[in-house]
């Protein structure tokens, strides 16, 4: 059974069916949206049933010729990297419909349709294993989002929508050029035209071209993430978008960027990735701190959460460019976490916005008395976003930081201060909204959270706790794919090992060459491994680092320090 195709096309089909509903039958429309998206979610759970934990490569693979002339296929596949993102997508969509049950009064039909189309696009982008197919979905998701922001958005929605669209399209069009060039290169080397990701891996590119392509791709994804200097579209888009739009935008769409880095940038351009990892890491660290600081002084709840997204996704990018298993696994998990917790936060902000039609912190205060249940949910969401152990946020952040600490200690230490800042701005938010005496009379008797909103929140909270308490469920399925990814990067060049263990002399120096080989499979985690065994080693065969010629250690040490300096 072509599960993935079903996943892609079911929402579209539902949307088409919906197009024939009478626009007056609002309840029917919403119900249909909810039902169909829920159905998609249930079906997507089938992925877990048929999942093979051991397989590193793509599973549920489908492949049909689409444009054979150019070797473009309708090729679908899913692996540990994309699995949870897909599930996140299918999981969030029904929640959106649920949360927006009473929120959307204007053109509900078109609203639901656009979200269904968006779901298709997002799932497609995650499971497309053909570069062009990916691009098609990648762009396709812009249109509905543009409409969602522009039609159902707030006061300044037009500006936000166009800004969002132009920023994104600017990046992705340049990426398109890069894609074409990449396919052209591989065509000239292999003689077979193809845009199949796995076959494009290891396309050898001249250094200069690789650099250009790296930036072409990175720009597109960095805008999407968004990485520090390119982030300004995000707050506007979030503030103006309707609740559902914000949830999808933060929950899934931003992940396209990080996912793109993982799936394309790293394996396609390993050397450049290593070369410019310091740059990317620096940017992400700046983003972490910057986003947190700016979030702290926002007068608008949604803007605050939006900037917090900048900060959180900075962690993801940091983990990706640390390029070792721990960090990458962490950042994949963190993508999911961020989707859940920030999604929840946006949902909750939307809830209170529905009731009070303001998002300014100044207008709130003492809300906890009127809406205790709501407050509880909010605090839980905040805590998971702060990264409280036992909730989802912690595991991801911890893995990222611990992993990238090996690659870039200084950067990591700086990034870790983001953990403090997160506490500052999020608790500030909670305090401003819920605590303190009731200053504004309108807050005295706001109706508490409604059934549909509770129904939307409960699954989110359950997931938060689940990931926090037993992340193994999720990590186990990622691990092989991540290892595989790292070998893909590895295959091209050994430099990466050095780079990813930069600023880490003692560990490297304690490494004994045979271990370097077998552990070479997974780049970054080596040092830890060697430390772990280093001592035992030294007991077994006297001086453990006998295998390594000293000058090599020296060199690695040197360019490590170099990396440090450049950072």
């Amino acid at each position: 059974m072509p599960l993935l195709s079903i996943l892609i096309w079911l929402p579209i089909a539902a949307a088409i069916v919906l197009a024939f509903f009478p626009k007056t039958a609002v309840t029917a429309i919403k119900g249909w949206g909810l039902f169909s998206s829920a159905a998609v979610f249930v079906i997507s759970l089938g992925l877990l049933r048929g999942w093979d934990d051991a397989r590193a490569g793509f599973q549920f693979v489908e492949r049909k010729a689409w444009i054979p002339q150019w070797g473009i296929n309708y090729a679908l596949g899913i692996d540990g990297i994309s699995l949870w993102l897909v599930l996140l997508t299918t999981f969030l969509t029904p929640i959106i419909f649920l949360s927006a049950w009473n929120a959307i009064h204007k053109h509900p039909k078109e609203y639901v349709i656009s979200f269904l189309i968006m779901e298709t696009a997002m799932i497609g982008a995650f499971i497309a294993t053909d570069l062009i197919l990916f691009y098609v979905f990648f762009e396709l998701m812009l249109l509905p989002m543009y409409l969602v922001i522009g039609v159902w958005g707030g006061a300044n929605r037009i500006y936000a929508a166009i800004k969002f669209f132009l920023f994104t399209i600017a990046g992705s069009l340049l990426m398109l050029l890069g894609i074409i060039y990449l396919g052209f290169q591989s065509y000239h080397q292999t003689g077979i035209p193809t845009f199949d990701i796995t076959q494009l891996y290891g396309t050898h590119l001249p250094a200069y071209a690789q650099m250009l392509l790296f930036f072409a791709f990175s720009l597109a994804f960095a805008i999407k993430v968004p990485l520090f200097p390119l982030h300004t579209w995000l707050p506007d888009a979030h503030v103006e978008a309707p609740t559902g739009g914000s949830i999808i935008l933060a929950g899934v769409m931003l992940k396209m960027g990080t996912y793109g880095f993982l799936r394309f940038v790293l394996p396609f351009f390993p050397e450049s990735s290593v070369k410019y990892a310091p740059l990317m890491i620096t940017l992400s660290v700046i983003g972490i701190i910057y986003g947190a600081l700016v979030a702290w002084v926002q007068p608008d709840m949604k803007k605050l959460v939006a900037y917090s997204s900048v900060s959180h996704l900075g962690f993801c990018v940091l983990g990706i460019f640390a390029m070792n298993e721990t960090a990458i696994t962490g950042s994949i998990l963190q993508m999911v976490n961020h989707g859940i917790s920030t999604g929840a936060l946006f949902l909750l902000v939307g809830v209170v916005y529905e009731r009070r039609h303001t998002r300014l912190l100044a207008d709130y205060g003492g809300l906890g008395r009127a809406m205790p249940v709501y407050a509880t949910f909010f605090v839980i969401a905040v805590l998971s976003s702060v990264g409280l152990p036992g909730l989802n946020g912690f595991v991801g952040e911890f893995l990222i930081l611990a992993g990238s600490f090996k690659a870039a200690p200084t950067a990591t230490v700086i990034a870790a201060t983001g953990v403090i800042l997160a506490a500052i701005y999020l608790l500030w938010l909670v305090q401003k909204v819920f605590f303190g005496p009731v200053t504004n009379e309108e807050n005295r008797n706001v109706p508490d959270i409604a059934w549909n909103e509770i129904a939307a929140m409960v699954p989110l909270v359950i997931l938060m706790v689940w990931i926090g308490v037993h992340p193994g469920t999720f990590l186990r399925k990622m691990e092989p794919s991540v290892k595989h990814l790292l070998t893909t990067i590895q295959r091209t060049d050994g430099k990466i090992m050095v780079a990813s263990s930069a600023g880490f002399q003692p560990a490297v120096s304690r490494a004994s060459s045979p271990r370097r080989q077998d552990a070479g499979a997974t780049a970054g985690k080596m040092p830890a491994l060697q430390v772990a065994h280093g001592v035992i080693l030294s007991r077994e065969d006297g001086e453990g680092s006998s295998g390594v010629p000293p000058e090599k250690i020296l060199r690695s040490a040197q360019d490590d320090t170099a990396a440090e300096v450049s950072r």
């Binding site: 062009i132 762009e139 669209f165 399209i169």
Partner: protein, 486 residues
């Protein structure tokens, strides 16, 4: 004794032309003798067009006729079908438009058909004589069609402008042809090709000839800097005509150019002619997109975007390869669908054409005239080159060929300018869906069945090509191969 130089099967070869010519005359007579039965004209015309397309498919095996001056091949068939498609769409939109404006007449459809004949001649002519002749037939028809709405000063003014510029440009084309004739001792494209192939030298004089020729064709293509007529003419012309005008003649000129460039192929490495073409394309992309941004009149905006699109097509012409020819073919078909579609929706605006049809006229239509708005939006997305529309596929094709033949810089400029273009295409969507219309300002009316049908065709085509272009690619690819081999 006179023996007309007629190869066997010639009557089949030019069957489409014959049908169209005859059809045109019949329609005129019909209108003349049964002035009451105007409503039957459009269906009849449609019938003629359909018959022609059917005739196209009748004649399978290609070949050259009339002493090697007239070629029938896959590519000509594709382009003929493009012309016919354009003609049909224009006709369908025109039906409602003319009916509304109360100026329906047999002449209109007749001229449409004869113009199509002219284009077919441009597409098939292997002799510059035929090409020029076709071009003239086309021009004559356009002069009249543009000025067809005689009551309107703008329409008349448009036809005046187009006429003067057109005649002017014709002068240059002719002069260029003459100079080529002087160099190659023939105006037959194949002969010219042989002359070039047999080491014919390209003197600067020939370059001048090329410049003159390009300027003339550039005029028809509305390539910058030969473009300035386009916005005015599109604005003034009856909207369906404008749509047709923005597509069909360009297609015809392109295929003629393809033949020429193909003939010149041997000499091109030695001369900088393609640099000029590149310059033209870059200029067009830049000027077209940048000026389109500041337009509020829909038709002018589309005109400028059209200029830009020709720029994109010229990218593919820079190096003539199977791919590029196929790309041009695909692009023209796509462009026909989306541009005529867009103009068609505009043609539904009930408004005195003397005043511009601005964005405000479509404000808030998104949720009133759902179908038309959706069609327009789709056309816009396609024009902007966003997947999953045909526009994306064809643009992708163009840039792919560009990169493969190493014109990365031009491609880059193309990409950058198309980023710019996204802005104004989206602005249309924004007016459609996100803006509330001014009170009592309801200019988009529910068009008749014809317009609806045309839009359906356009939408279907855009999506079909966008989602599954393979068959089209195959056809175009083989056709191009055939074209470039002989």
């Amino acid at each position: 004794m006179i023996q007309p130089l007629l190869e066997p099967g010639w009557q089949w070869a030019i069957l489409p032309e014959i049908i169209l010519c005859g059809g045109g005359m019949l329609l005129i007579l019909f209108d003349a003798f049964l002035p009451r039965a105007k409503s039957a004209l459009a269906p009849l015309a449609l019938l003629v067009f359909i018959a022609t397309s059917w005739a196209e498919n009748l004649f399978i095996q290609g070949g050259t006729f009339f002493g090697g001056t007239y070629e029938i091949s896959g590519i000509t068939m594709i382009f003929d079908l493009t012309f016919l498609l354009a003609g049909m769409l224009a006709l369908l939109f025109a039906r409602d438009y003319l009916d509304r404006e109360g100026i329906e007449g047999g002449e209109f459809y007749a001229l449409l058909m004869w113009g199509t004949v002219g284009m077919m001649m441009m597409a098939k002519g292997l002799d510059l004589l035929i090409v020029v002749l076709g071009l003239e037939i086309l021009s004559i028809c356009i002069f009249v069609l543009v000025g067809y709405h005689r009551r309107l000063p703008v329409s008349n003014e448009a036809s005046l402008k187009y006429f003067l510029m057109g005649a002017f440009a014709t002068g240059f084309i002719l002069y260029g042809t003459a100079l080529f004739y002087g160099a190659t001792q023939s105006t037959n494209i194949t002969a010219m090709g042989q002359w070039f192939a047999s080491g014919g030298q390209a003197t600067p004089l020939l370059t001048v000839a090329f410049v003159l020729l390009m300027s003339g064709f550039g005029f028809k293509l509305a390539l910058a800097p030969f473009h300035p007529w386009a916005p005015d003419v599109y604005q003034g012309a009856p909207t369906p005509v404008a749509g047709w005008l923005s597509v069909a003649p360009k297609a015809a000129t392109l295929i003629a150019l393809v033949r020429l460039f193909d003939a010149m192929d041997p000499v091109l490495p030695k001369v900088n002619w393609m640099t000029m073409v590149a310059a033209l394309s870059i200029l067009s992309m830049v000027i077209g997109n940048l000026v389109a941004i500041v337009q509020r009149d829909l038709k002018r905006m589309l005109a400028y975007s059209g200029i830009a699109h020709v720029g994109y097509m010229m990218i593919a012409m820079l190096t003539l390869r199977e791919d590029s020819v196929a790309a041009v073919a695909v692009y023209t078909i796509t462009y026909a669908l989306m541009n005529i579609g867009a103009f068609g929706v505009v043609s539904l605006l009930v408004k005195n054409q003397n005043d511009p049809q601005t964005l405000d006229d479509i404000a808030g239509m998104g949720f009133r005239r759902k179908f038309y708005a959706f069609a327009l939006a789709l056309c816009m997305f396609s024009l902007a080159g966003l997947p999953p529309t045909a526009g994306f596929i064809s643009k992708f094709y163009i840039f792919r060929t560009a990169i493969e033949s190493g014109h990365t810089i031009v491609a880059l400029i193309g990409i950058l300018t198309s980023i710019v273009s996204v802005y104004y295409y989206l602005r249309v969507v924004y007016y459609l869906y996100m803006k509330e219309p001014a009170e009592g300002h309801e200019v988009m009316q529910a068009g008749g069945v014809f317009a609806a049908g045309a839009l359906t065709i356009a939408i279907a085509g855009i999506l079909a090509i966008g989602l599954y272009p393979t068959p089209l690619f195959q056809a175009a690819g083989t056709a191009a191969r055939v074209l470039l081999q002989q």
